[in-house]
């Protein structure tokens, strides 16, 4: 991690370039993936699957394709996931395990994005069917 572009794409992707592929399997509704979770905040989403870990990794690898990826660490220096910066300024972060509920999660932060392709800021938990 940290060298080149994720997936060896040859150029740094904007998140908008990845949405057509990702949305084939993970539909986008009003800027959000998945369904609304239990929170009052609509930006917290759920995607259900038989294998949440594999689904989270598949989703992350595709939505972050062509970005610049680095590990994220916990306070002890252990790898807890990865974060990828896209050409439009979007930051996508994958955590193998959320400390809150143990589910894998992917965050999409478009706050500094110049073109998010219509996506909104969101945190997606991948949960068992």
């Amino acid at each position: 991690m940290g060298l080149g572009y994720k997936g060896d794409t040859g150029h740094q992707h904007s998140i908008g370039e990845n949405i057509p592929d990702v949305s084939k399997d993970y539909p986008v509704n009003n800027g959000y993936f998945g369904t609304k979770g239990d929170s009052s905040d609509n930006s917290i989403r759920h995607i259900e699957s038989d294998d949440p870990s594999a689904t989270a990794k598949d989703f992350y690898d595709r939505i972050a394709h062509g970005g610049v990826e680095n590990d994220i660490l916990d306070k002890n220096g252990n790898i807890k996931g990865a974060t990828t910066k896209m050409a439009d300024g979007t930051v996508v972060t994958w955590r193998e395990v959320s400390s809150s509920d143990g589910s894998p999660a992917v965050d999409i932060n478009i706050k500094k994005s110049t073109d998010s392709g219509g996506l909104k800021v969101q945190k997606i938990h991948f949960v068992k069917n």
Partner: protein, 185 residues
């Protein structure tokens, strides 16, 4: 009403206070990739002493559900992550005239009754006289630390207007900030 306070603690504010009047030699951060932000840590060198602004997620009550929320800390303790970084060093070599904390208050009301009162430190502004350097906390789940350079930097922080935009319409939300100048020793 539930009250949550994840502002910098008094000992962390004391560390910032001890920097006032000393030289900000440099700050170190990730190489910027389209956005001027550093993931999880920024190093601040004051005189010959190193301090670290960390942003790590921890489990918090996020308005009714447990979520991983980014929480800031300021310390001189070097965590293992620092040695795993390839930092870019930005020299400053100017005296810190003052430091202002940007404290944010988020309030949620259900049927007119306040249910949450949340305080967090949105960021800090180092006043160097002719210019400023500031560090801003990103969105609630993000461990990114946004770096600003220039003038009147608190006005460049993200707006509070969008807080609660995509929440259940049955709830009313308010968000405001105060600028809290740290008094020198």
């Amino acid at each position: 009403m539930k009250t949550i306070d994840i502002r910098l603690k008094s000992d962390e504010v004391s560390k910032l206070r001890s920097m006032i009047g000393k030289e900000l030699s440099a700050y170190l951060h990730d190489e910027f990739q389209y956005t001027q932000s550093s993931s999880q840590v920024v190093e601040v060198v004051v005189g010959d002493k190193k301090y670290y602004i960390y942003s790590f997620t921890e489990e918090q009550d996020y308005f009714g559900t447990p979520e991983d929320v980014a929480v800031w800390s300021v310390t001189d303790e070097k965590l293992p992550i620092v040695d795993k970084k390839t930092f870019v060093r930005t020299p400053v070599n100017e005296t810190i005239k003052g430091i202002t904390l940007i404290q944010e208050n988020q309030r949620v009301f259900n049927d007119g009754v306040q249910t949450y009162d949340v305080w967090l430190t949105r960021g800090m502004v180092f006043d160097l006289g002719e210019r400023q350097v500031a560090f801003e906390k990103d969105v609630w789940f993000s461990e990114e630390i946004i770096v600003h350079r220039g003038y009147d930097l608190s006005s460049r922080f993200s707006s509070t207007d969008n807080f609660g935009d995509d929440w259940d319409k049955s709830l009313r939300t308010e968000c405001s900030r105060i600028e809290e100048e740290i008094m020198p020793e």
